[in-house]
Amino acid sequence: MIEVMDLAKRFGAIAAVDGVSFIARDGEVTGLLGPNGAGKTTTLRILYTLMRADRGRVLVDGIDAAENELDVRRCLGVLPDARGLYKRLTARENIEYFARLQGLSEEAVRQRTNALIDVLGMRAIADRRVEGFSQGERVKTALARALVHDPKNLILDEPGNGLDVMAMRALRELLRSLRGEGRCVLFSSHIMQEVAALCDRIVIIARGHVVAQGTPDELRERANEASLEEAFVKLIGSSEGLAA
């Protein structure tokens, strides 16, 4: 479970995040939806301890991210906005590197890596160098890397970026099964359809604020609109930046 309380972060004169609060529960997929530049990536970066907030608190499974960042990182799996791989290493070596850095024993490193290669259908590419991988193959490798230590919580920043229809379908399947295992899945997107297809709860962010949150039905009701898309536009206050 990830609890976010009154988060704020400024870059110079610009308030990128200003008072964001929400809860992402175990066994649910929570979507962070907002136009480009709304503060989604900054919020997530604070959650996964890459950045420090100027104000507010983050608790991951009850652990304070500002006080104990190493423990928080152990129970988080992250697919960040920057998902570069080591192109001179094979997919397997990329995954194993992170497994070792997560502190897994050598036996666990092999086991978990093999298991993920199977689950993600990467057997054919596992021992090829990452250089020359397609976008979908890269995302799979980055996902395996993020899941290798079997984290209870998963944070994905714009996971759909650059994926084709088939890869996106596979990703949706994966996120659903992770939810089925009782994990907490939090992902950000600026594409309304992506969020609508997957999320149990939606947090809408615009200009650094949370403008609305709830289940898709609750949001439709609140905006008094039959279609989710119309509800979003109404809640955000403009349709700017919502296009896919």
């Binding site: 890459l50 420090r52 990182r73 992250v78 906005d81 920057a82 570069g84 850095l101 502190g103």
Partner: protein, 391 residues
Amino acid sequence: MRAIKVVWLKELRESFRDRRAVINAVLLAPLIGPVIFVMITNIVLNREFEKAAKPLPVPVVGAERAPNLMQGLAEMGLAPLPAPSNPETAVRDQTAEVVLRIPSTFEQDWREGKPAQVEIIYDSSRRDASSQVERLNAMLEMYGKRSGAMRLMVRGLSPTLSTSIVVARRDQATPQARGALLFAILPYFFVLTGFIGSMSLAIDTTAGERERQSLEPLLLNPVPRTHILAGKLGATWVFSILSLCLSIIAFALASRVVPTEKLGMTFELGFSFAATVLMLMLPLLLLVVILQTLVSAFAKTYREAQTLLGLLQLIPVVPSILLTVLPLKPQLWMYAVPLLGQQLAIMELLRGEVVQPAQMSVSLFVTSIAVVVAFMYTARVYKTERLGVSG
């Protein structure tokens, strides 16, 4: 601690698959010094031999006035050339490097036994001509002495009468020291080798990794950033040590190929030389590696890091120039200055001398302190928020 090793191994494995890094460390860095060393010695050797053996062509004005003198000079290797119409202009225009003029008064003075003047026309600001001027001057003096002695003998006097003082030069430089004078630049190459060998790793593991967007995911592992930094530095250090070792071997081979003994120098780069240089250089190489990594942590892109490190590479030239230009008498405190100390010590070794334990320990101690300080500062930079964020 395990994380340091994991990062170290991964960086080594990845870098050994990087053709550019390997070529830099294994070929370019170790060979640049020996190649320049062989080139310099060949040029010097050729010049020395040419000077001694080749006839010296000199335009002579009024050669017909002193046939005996011309005969004597020709025996010593002078090859007279036809005179230019205006010797002064010819030298100034650089069409002739040196001109010998025998004035019209020469014949009469010579016959009467007065000092007969000859003129050497030259330009002292042209350094490449100076060896010819010296040679011509020496020939003339030699001829003068010889005919002077003959005149004394004709008058029944001993030629030794005119020689009141004999100067005998006893050069105390060992053959190695004479060699080291010529190769004062050599220590610089050992430092430069480390710089080049580690450069692509220093850039790749920090600026490169950020540019390729893999630094952010790496920093999300439950490992303190100082451990990640330590592993990266360790791998980079290995590459610079590798370069240095290969360079020492290449130098040893090169010194065998180049006939340095023909210049009256012996150049012994044996095992103890290699071991001492390695020991002196280990902490310095680590310091260099940390500074390179620090600089590329500040750079936004791979290119920018490359440019900055190119500038950093010029710093070790400074002590080299100081040592060649200023006749510094090595003091103990100089060994405490990183870079200067190592270069001094290597120069001593090349002279065939021994580096004193006090000098060695001062150099190692102070450089190690510099390593700790540089590491702490770099670790602080590594912990900043800005470092992890790509783009």
